[in-house]
Symmetry: C2
Subunit: 430 residues, 2 copies
């Protein structure tokens, strides 16, 4: 049965994503009404530059006073697509206080203040949905917090930043260096003028915090996420990866410790085997691999950014929140009951690929192997290559803690026969 | 806030899936209670053979009287994992009438009677959830009917049967024939003693009907789904596919017509390019590729069958239905408002790979090409190979309707110079 009074939506932000949300709300109005059970109406659009012409949006709806818009009291759902911490945080909080539910695409805010925002939403018995905050259109938040709600997730391994995946894929397929690949990404619009948030892993770290929190029913703050960018990855690293049957991806990795009593979250470049489904994720695509007790291995793949895909995720949430509103219910809120401690990076256990420049003389391998043994790091394979009196030693370890590996590398650097540590890279996905 | 009165669950069926559902309900009871907001309790288990020892299940809960169990009146959720049409249909209907919501893994029943069951559920204001009915643990129903509820899905292309994917993957990687690969699948437990439902595409067709219905907000009955099995696929077909840079998969394909005014659903073997993400889905895994207006291309990948993965999907639904129950709401029901006509197979437009055995003499190609032209089927490439006075002609067409292709083949068979049509295979995913 169709209700005739429309649900009112306030849109905060009308850039690439916001304008697409508005466009789809207009062009697909009949479908949205049928799927929700009531029409939805754009009741206001808060922007910074009101004079800009916005095709398809009634100028009478446009305002620069976002605060007044969220305080109106007749708004059912506020869609926040302005990004950043403030004024988004205050506007969302104000929206809850004035009776609206919220759909947000704001990963930075959710990663930093998700718990506080969920608390305000719950206090006012409202929904806070944010599928668009992680991996664009790929349904990930909903599958993790609903489809897998009866399962125990042990690991989330994801390519959650399209810019860096484009750059690494380019380096892999053409042999280009980092700067050359970045320049191409910038020219094609895949990288921003200041690519820091992407290439230094800040964007992926925010997504890792959100994913870990949902997967493990535990609060994981942005500060809890270990973060290493991918600007140091070289063509030589790709060559090493190829020799191992691997490629290199910037991964967001959220893991439950083997004893189940703690979790970790980290972002760094890593080698993964070519046979792993994540290895074949090309260009600016995203994909997230989820391992859980009962369901085994699942993967979710799709465009991780862009106006239309992000708008699709926002609108899926909008439909869900509107349905909840009509039935007088709210969807699942924050689930942090497990409250597991988040362990530091030193506790993370994984494998490592280490390239050393060493003196080309007898006994060096024995010295190096002794250092690994003394730190309890077991060696899987060693490959030695001589070149002009110098030699390189490539060591791949068995699983070891990051702390043990760190101690090993520190000790290796002190050896006279070790001229330098050319690279250290983690090996994942095996 | 935790409610202390437990929600009561009745389990119909305690085979591979049911026993795993019961096990997880027991071992993960605390997690389920925390995620739902109330404890869940196994209140009864209906089985056929009560004397069988079932580890971890209180014998006092076991009954052979499923009807009495669903009529008890104190049951909150009935989990139906017995499969087949009857008695499942009557039991589910009775459950709704006696106040329970239902979680089902029954693809055959949902494909055949989904609309009627949804109607009874709605009449009694109860939930009917069935994530486990399609592609095991892979979240697919929920993403399609919730995450993509604000988008317009145009195509669903899926590997939704693990048995046939195992067989085809084996044929592809080893060059084995169909029978040899089937024998191995049977020996390893991937194929049942009577593999008809899998290899003839009945199982995939049921899933296609369910997926098409949800994707297009339109009722699609099992009878609406064109179905062709994969028992005729030969090693020669794989060789042809390889020459085209393709492999062969049994695909379930649900499409919206280009004008948006009708839909089609079909299951058949098809060539797909090796570069397509579905091409690298190995073994008994499932994957579903979804194309929509705003989100572009998404893929969902994971184990498509098995006790634990299916139980994971059932339990995710159980949590959702229990949450709905506590909040006094129901989740999204059937959405068939679009009511688009389902077109027959003849209207499907795709590309074709046709191998003809022809006489090795001048003019044959001209004759064949004329037949294609007369039927309005445009040729993309032709390859001619001579062998001992005979020749083979491999034609790959541009897009054409199935009806036009059928007419073409009929006419080709009548040509004196065409000795036989060795194979016809559709080419998808381009």
């Amino acid at each position: 049965m169709m209700r005739t009074r429309p649900l009112k939506v306030a849109l905060l932000g009308c850039g690439v994503v916001g304008s697409e949300v508005a466009r789809i709300m207009t062009t697909h109005a009949d479908d949205l009404a049928a799927r929700i059970g009531a029409p939805v109406e754009l009741a206001g659009v808060a922007v910074r530059r009101p004079s800009k012409v916005r095709e398809g949006i009634d100028p009478a709806l446009v305002t620069t006073d976002a605060t007044a818009l969220v305080k109106r009291g007749d708004i059912d759902v506020v869609v926040e697509v302005i990004g950043g911490i403030e004024p988004a945080r205050t506007l969302i909080t104000t929206a809850f206080e004035h009776g609206a539910s919220v759909v947000s695409a704001n990963k930075a805010l959710l990663a930093q203040d998700g718990a506080a925002l969920h608390a305000v939403a719950e206090e006012h018995n409202k929904d806070l949905y944010y599928e668009a905050a992680v991996a664009g259109a790929i349904p990930l938040i909903r599958p993790l917090r609903e489809s897998l709600a009866g399962d125990k997730v042990n690991r989330v391994l994801g390519i959650v930043n399209g810019t860096t995946n484009f750059i690494l894929d380019k380096m892999d397929s053409t042999g280009a260096g980092y700067q050359e690949a970045l320049d191409e990404a910038t020219a094609l619009g895949y990288a921003e003028a200041d690519p820091t948030a992407d290439v230094e892993g800040f964007d992926a770290a925010a997504k890792a915090a959100i994913l870990a929190g949902i997967a493990f029913h535990t609060r994981v703050r942005l500060d809890d996420v270990y973060r290493e960018g991918m600007t140091e990855v070289t063509a030589a690293d790709f060559a090493s990866a190829k020799e191992m049957g691997c490629t290199i991806k910037l991964l967001a990795i959220c893991e439950r410790a083997e004893d189940g009593q703690s979790v970790t979250a980290r972002v760094h470049p890593a080698m993964i085997p070519l046979s792993h489904p994540l290895a074949s994720v090309r260009g600016a695509y995203n994909a997230v691999f989820v391992e859980s007790d009962a369901s085994g291995q699942l993967m979710f793949y799709g465009p991780g950014a862009g106006g239309s895909p992000t708008a699709s995720a926002v609108l899926g949430d909008l439909v869900a929140v509107c349905r909840n509103r009509l039935s007088g219910a709210t969807g699942p809120g924050e689930s942090a009951y497990a409250a597991l401690p988040v362990s530091p990076m030193g506790d993370v256990v994984t494998r490592y690929h280490i390239s050393l420049d060493v003196a080309d003389k007898p006994g060096v391998l024995a010295q190096v192997a002794t250092v690994f043994a003394e730190h309890g790091v077991s060696i899987d394979t060693v490959r030695q290559q001589g070149k002009d009196g110098e030699a390189s030693l490539v060591v791949v370890t068995h699983c070891a803690s990051d702390a043990a590996l760190g101690g090993t590398v520190e000790a290796l650097r002190k050896l006279d026969t070790v001229r330098g540590v050319a690279s250290i890279m983690r090996v994942e996905g095996e």
